[in-house]
């Protein structure tokens, strides 16, 4: 847990679910990291070094209504968009093979973006203006939905 806590404390704005209201204590961090989580994986580069670059989570599952939430956390300032996209797609494929969800939601802040935006089957369903304070100003928050009937992770995974 130590390395993840250090990364989160340096870039809490990336950890919306765990650090939404500030960096918690190390003990609280561990609890929140796993609260409501159905599946969670570290994204590693398949380059022989296996450097961890991010974390993907499937959480807040609502089995009655067949929805769940995705989260992507990037660990570093370096550009790893390809790895993040692959991590999210692998998780969506894992979710599709494991559970019968109709929709997967994820949220982004205005300054973050997501590799899934623009992919067929992904639509913005909520837009909160000036929701989150960071770096001297308020930023918008968006909720996106993946419609599993239109989304085909298999064809997108490279």
């Amino acid at each position: 847990m130590g390395p993840l806590y250090r990364i989160a404390s340096e870039r809490p704005e990336e950890w919306a679910r765990v650090c939404h209201r500030g960096v918690p204590s190390p003990a609280q961090f561990g609890d929140r990291l796993w609260a409501g989580v159905l599946a969670q994986f570290i994204i590693e580069l398949s380059d022989g070094v296996y450097e961890p670059v991010g974390l993907v989570s499937l959480h807040s599952a609502d089995f009655a209504n067949r929805t769940a939430w995705l989260e992507l956390v990037s660990f570093g300032p370096g550009n790893q968009d390809g790895a993040y996209a692959s991590g999210l797609l692998l998780l969506t494929r894992y979710a599709a093979r494991s559970w019968d969800f109709r929709k997967l939601y994820f949220e982004t802040l205005e300054f973050q973006g997501s590799p899934l935006i623009g992919v067929p089957g992904v639509e913005k369903e909520a837009h909160f203006r000036e929701f989150y304070y960071h770096d001297g100003r308020y930023w918008d928050r968006m909720i996106w939905a993946i419609d599993n009937s239109k989304f085909e992770p298999e064809s997108l995974i490279s």
Binding site: H20, R21, G22, A64, N65, T67, R102, K103, Y105, E125, A126, H127, F128, R129, E130, F131, Y132, Y133, Y138, I143, A145
Partner: protein, 195 residues
């Protein structure tokens, strides 16, 4: 010093009492409301229900009729307050006898005014299923902005329904409906002023 403004002409807000919790438990598990409210048809134990009623709550009041015998109309609450970013979520529910009467929305109006008076929130959010949105027809559309529609999010009565996310801006509220409440509050202050 302003009063809290918890008393309106038709409805008032008062502390939520244990007997109100029992009433809400019966209402939420009733055939008419059971699947419409937040439990979606589930039947938790009374203890679980009470815990969920108070989970992450910042403030919660019973809505009652102002005229005696002050009949119980419903409940309104603020939860998941995010003081860092200046917002919170609110909820309102009417018991079966007062569904569609507009009284619960009147209570929510008092509560929104109270929230903006007691805390420096920039805005409040609320959720509503599309089949419940008619209850908000008593509210002014200018104060209530739809910022999200989660399509086919929740199952009810044989099909999936949209979940709406609504926003109430402090500035819009204070400029519009809030003025009416501010005037009422000023009259209350004048009545309670010594001498």
């Amino acid at each position: 010093m302003k009063g809290l403004g918890l008393t309106g002409a038709r409805v008032s807000l008062r502390t939520l009492l244990p007997e109100d919790e029992r009433r809400l438990y019966a209402e939420e598990l009733s055939e008419s409301l059971g699947s419409r409210w937040r439990l979606g048809g589930a039947t938790p134990s009374p203890r679980q229900h009470s815990a969920s009623l108070w989970a992450n709550v910042l403030a919660q009041y019973a809505i009652v009729k102002t005229r005696q015998p002050a009949e119980f109309v419903g409940v309104t609450a603020a939860y998941d307050a995010d003081h860092r970013n200046g917002h919170a979520w609110i909820a309102v529910a009417a018991v079966a006898a007062y569904q569609g009467s507009g009284l619960a929305i009147g209570g929510a109006g008092l509560f929104i005014d109270y929230m903006f008076h007691e805390w420096p929130f920039r805005r409040l959010y609320a959720e509503s299923m599309e089949f419940s949105i008619r209850a908000f027809s008593h509210a002014s559309p200018a104060h209530l902005q739809v910022v999200g529609r989660l399509k086919d999010d929740r199952w009810h009565d044989g099909r999936f329904h949209d979940r709406l996310i609504l926003q109430i801006e402090r500035t819009t509220w204070e400029a519009g409906m809030g003025k009416e409440l501010a005037d009422r509050r000023r009259r209350m202050e004048e009545r309670s002023a010594p001498g």
